[in-house]
Amino acid sequence: MTVYSERPAAIPAGSRAERLTSFRPADFPAPTRALEEWRFTPLSRFRPLLDEASFVEPCDSQVTLDLPPGADAAITTGPMAGQAGAPGDRAAVVAWNAAKDTTVLTIAQGQRLAEAATVGVRGGGLDRPCARHLLIRAEAGSSATVVLEYAGPALLSETVEIVVDDGADLTIVTVQDWEAGSVHAASHRAVVGAEARLKHICVTLGGDAVRITPDAEFRGEGGEVEFVGLYFADAGQHLEHRLFVDHNQPRCKSRVTYKGALQGQDAHAVWVGDVLIQAHAEGTDTYELNRNLVLTKGARADSVPNLEIETGEIEGAGHASATGRFDDEQLFYLMSRGVPEDEARRLVVRGFFGELIDQIEVPAVRARLIAAIDGELELTMGVSS
């Protein structure tokens, strides 16, 4: 039997509006489980990424770019002014300061890319941490899809700045598919201009411990942010997604839809969705949802929506969080209709993720994702197809 427990939004420890952001590491206290932003995180695994001193040598991680006409990339060195706000936690500020250069990907004004641009990041091994800084800018009136692909073994701390200028339409698909042993912390910070749209699709599959913190704020009215996420946690994996949408402008819209499956002993998923509707952000329309599907015993999903509303003049605001279990009764029901066990599991998991996978408009990424999910099932179920 599937049991859905709708849980009320927790009251956050202090308003998100009061949460510190800064470019100076010293401003952030050392992470402990007592701090709201670290309370679900296995700190020992992230330790190498939390101290700037551990980023001593040039790292071996590599970036490859596959750009269609209309997209330009450049590597810039030296200090960068933050285009999309300041870091919001210790991992983010360390990533900012430890990165030696910035990869800047620009979609020029009015350019509408027919094909996706791809940024591939190959990890630099598990011996020492790397820091990276990527800035993606969609100039006014442009339209593009950018795929970020992470693979290999890595200890990576990262800043991804996303700037969507007025009237631009940008889709980011970021796929974290690291090898075992990898640890990845990434701060994605987005600013969305007037009448601009950002769709940010975050897929996390591989890696021992991955913590992604997508933040978005608006630079004008009529902006739209859609955060979509899909994760699959296996035994021992910690996959954490903490989102923040700051409705700091009137008449903007945001949608957050994250779904995750978990299987195996000590598989751990964390989803925290903060939405702040500021006092002057009249006409805000926001909804956030997180669903988890627990496939086996021993896995744990933490899911915390936080919705803060400082104005009554809103279009709509809501949230939902639920964790369901794939259990023996569901399996028996499907098998009693002739469906073999492995196919029954695949049916349920594909059905669970289906609406999200359909939203990935890059066929190659979509096909790889379906294959990856089927692969995940075979891995733990000991089933071969």
Binding site: D328, E329, F332, M335, S336, R337, G338, L347, V348, G351
Partner: protein
């Protein structure tokens, strides 16, 4: 013609307090085209029989045999039993989030038939079957049993019975919780299956009212894990007036 043969079946169920014997030697033979009603008071083992035939993991067969045309059903996994021609309409159908009814029906039909149904005829077949059971077309896109009312769940079970065309269908208290209109619709569905296919039906029920719509060829009364009495339709009529009192002693009622 097919035969489902149950011999000296002993079954225990896994409970929090440990294994508990429920069936204590059941003998039953059903042939194609026949309708057998299994009646009996609560706790007599009726639903356990259904679960054991289909192979529910919580139930263990400790002795006896179940054979389908001579093949050993107890050696088969649950899905193999379904593909061999057994079907169980469940008392409490399970929700399967994210899997649409249309996808579920096609997947199940493909599994039991060994090949995907012809696209051209399948859609029409499903639609006709849904219409017959007064199931709104919109249900095809809803997740299996999610948010269905009790009556909708039972009609969805009979929809599967009609589409999957099993050799033997076990209906586990399909009538429970149905109002009179839903009971009629569901019964019509079972009767259509009996008319259009060679299905043999094992109709498990506590009450006699469904037997006003579905005529059993045989009635078996379950008491304390065994068949206490067997007969024709007249036995159901007697239970209608007398209840299960004479099997249980003073004080027992139909409730």
């Amino acid at each position: 013609m097919a035969t489902l043969e149950i011999r000296d079946l002993h079954v225990m169920v896994e409970t929090k307090e440990g294994d508990k014997p429920i069936l204590r030697g059941v003998d039953l033979t059903i042939n194609s085209g026949q309708t057998h009603a299994i009646m009996g008071p609560n706790g007599s083992g009726k639903s356990t029989l259904a679960a054991a035939i289909m192979g529910h993991p919580r139930y263990t067969v400790t002795a006896g045999t179940i054979r389908l045309d001579g093949a050993d059903v107890l050696e088969m996994s649950v899905d193999e039993r379904a593909r061999a021609g057994l079907f169980l309409a469940m008392q409490y159908p399970v929700e399967v989030a994210g899997v649409s009814v249309a996808n579920f029906l096609r997947t199940a039909k493909t599994a039991v038939a060994g090949q995907a149904p012809a696209l051209r005829t399948w859609g029409k077949e499903v639609k006709t079957a849904m219409d017959n059971l007064r199931i709104d077309a919109a249900f095809a896109e809803r997740s299996v049993n999610e948010g269905f009312s009790g009556g909708e769940k039972k009609r969805h079970e009979i929809l599967q019975l009609e589409l999957l065309k099993p050799k033997f269908a076990i209906l586990d208290e399909t009538d429970s919780g149905l109002d009179i209109d839903a009971l009629r619709v569901v019964s019509e569905g079972v009767n259509r299956a009996l008319e259009n296919t060679d299905v043999g039906v094992l109709l498990i029920t506590h009450y006699t009212r469904i037997l006003r719509y579905i005529n059993p060829d045989y009635v078996h009364v379950f008491v304390d894990g065994r068949i206490a009495e067997e007969g024709g339709p007249e036995l159901a009529e007697r239970l209608e007036t007398e209840g299960y009192v004479r099997y249980l002693g003073v004080g027992a009622t139909m409730n």
